[in-house]
């Protein structure tokens, strides 16, 4: 679907004011999405959550090397490029998580012996990067017209030192737990 699709789920009254505490009801930062912005890939999307922004491009179903082809379903590849530096182990583990999610949702059996490649580029990182990557990948797959059995999304949750749950933490909120003596948990929730 071409054009801009802006879903305005701004549950915080002040967006960008990271120092002030959020409303006690758990809210997300302002998020926005734009599709079909790149001309080369078959599908592309840019997902923005607060100041975190990820650009995703999808190529597929396309040709696959004989060594990588699977006889009865599509080969899904995810490539995640950080904003600076070469991709490392953290990127590899995130790629794996995103790939497992996409494989569960994409109907690969309709396109055997083809490859579907999702390329993610981190444009800016201000907290909850993995969830933003998942959302961008989903919107790009939808834009490319890859058949899927459901949509997926991600939200990062953090427990701060007092034990209250913070959704969609900023980079500062993600970091401040390490200084505290209590255990700080962080995870990505996946919803279908």
């Amino acid at each position: 679907m071409e054009g801009v699709m802006q879903t305005d789920a701004k549950m915080r009254t002040e967006s960008g004011a990271e120092s002030s505490p959020r409303a006690p009801g758990c809210s997300l930062r302002h998020f926005a999405c734009e599709q079909n912005l790149l001309s080369r890939p078959d599908g592309s999307a840019s997902f923005l959550q607060g100041d975190t922004s990820v650009l995703a491009g999808v190529y597929g179903p396309a040709e696959v090397k004989v060594s990588k082809e699977i006889f009865n379903k599509a080969t899904l590849e995810v490539i995640l490029r950080p904003k600076i530096g070469l991709p490392g182990v953290a990127e590899k583990s995130r790629e794996r998580l995103i790939r497992n999610t996409c494989e569960a949702v994409v109907l690969g059996a309709l396109h055997p012996r083809t490859s579907i490649t999702v390329v993610l580029q981190v444009v800016s990182d201000a907290g909850s990067l993995l969830a933003c990557c998942l959302n961008a990948a989903c919107m790009a797959l939808v834009d490319a017209g890859v058949p899927m059995r459901a949509l997926f999304c991600g939200v990062t949750c953090a427990l701060d030192s007092e034990g209250t749950l913070v959704l969609d933490p900023t980079a500062k909120q993600e970091k401040c737990g390490t200084e505290a003596a209590d255990v700080h948990h962080q995870g990505a929730l996946l919803g279908c």
Partner: protein, 276 residues
Amino acid sequence: MAGVMAVAAESLAGGRARAARTVLDQVVLPGEELLLPEQEDAEGPGGTGERPLRLNAGVRARVRVVCGPGLRRCGDRLLVTKCGRLRYKEPGGSGGGGGVYWVDSQQKRYVPVKGDHVIGIVTAKSGDIFKVDVGGSEPASLSYLAFEGATKRNRPNVQVGDLIYGQFVVANKDMEPEMVCIDSCGRANGMGVIGQDGLLFKVTLGLIRKLLTPDCEILQEVGKLYPLEIVFGMNGRIWVKAKTIQQTLILANILEACEHMTADQRKQIFSRLAES
């Protein structure tokens, strides 16, 4: 569009499948389940899909609904697999089935379908077969005998890099696609090697379908502008040729841009070009 998306999200959140009839021409998202008309009676108030037992079992007439692109059968319901607008076509003729449902989605990547007419580029000649790139996941094969008037002695004059207009005879997910340049009677019917010069460019699949509808306004207006030859391939490729290179480029730019223009903007551009 935002309002429509909010409605779609609400109904998905409810977890209840909607009737296909109520969603016609609206945007549907992957993962939605649609009820066919015959199941709507079962989903009554408070119904969880249990059908009431009937004493006379032969009363329910089963209607055969065809499930088109973007939809899959999921038990008794239709599962939406692509994002787009849901369309429905009434059954033509006397009671032939329950009609066709499909999702009108926008895509750039082509997937071969049997019977589609496409423009391909010859990439290799190996023995008796040409390998033709059609924009799908693998190149299609085209036998040298599949041209009008071709025999083992009289081979067609096809070189690597030529443009071919043909149709698929074999195109499914498990086999390599095969195309031919003759119809079932053995006549070319416009298919074969596309001539010299001209320009080949790529557009989205939705635009091709729009341009190929009967009585397309865009095409009639373009035809009044310059004399031209044009070939549409269902794989998103258009070949156009006019008298001069400049006219060819103008036509190519118009066709690429008309996807995003409203009818008024298009008329403005055409009137400006007709003056100059």
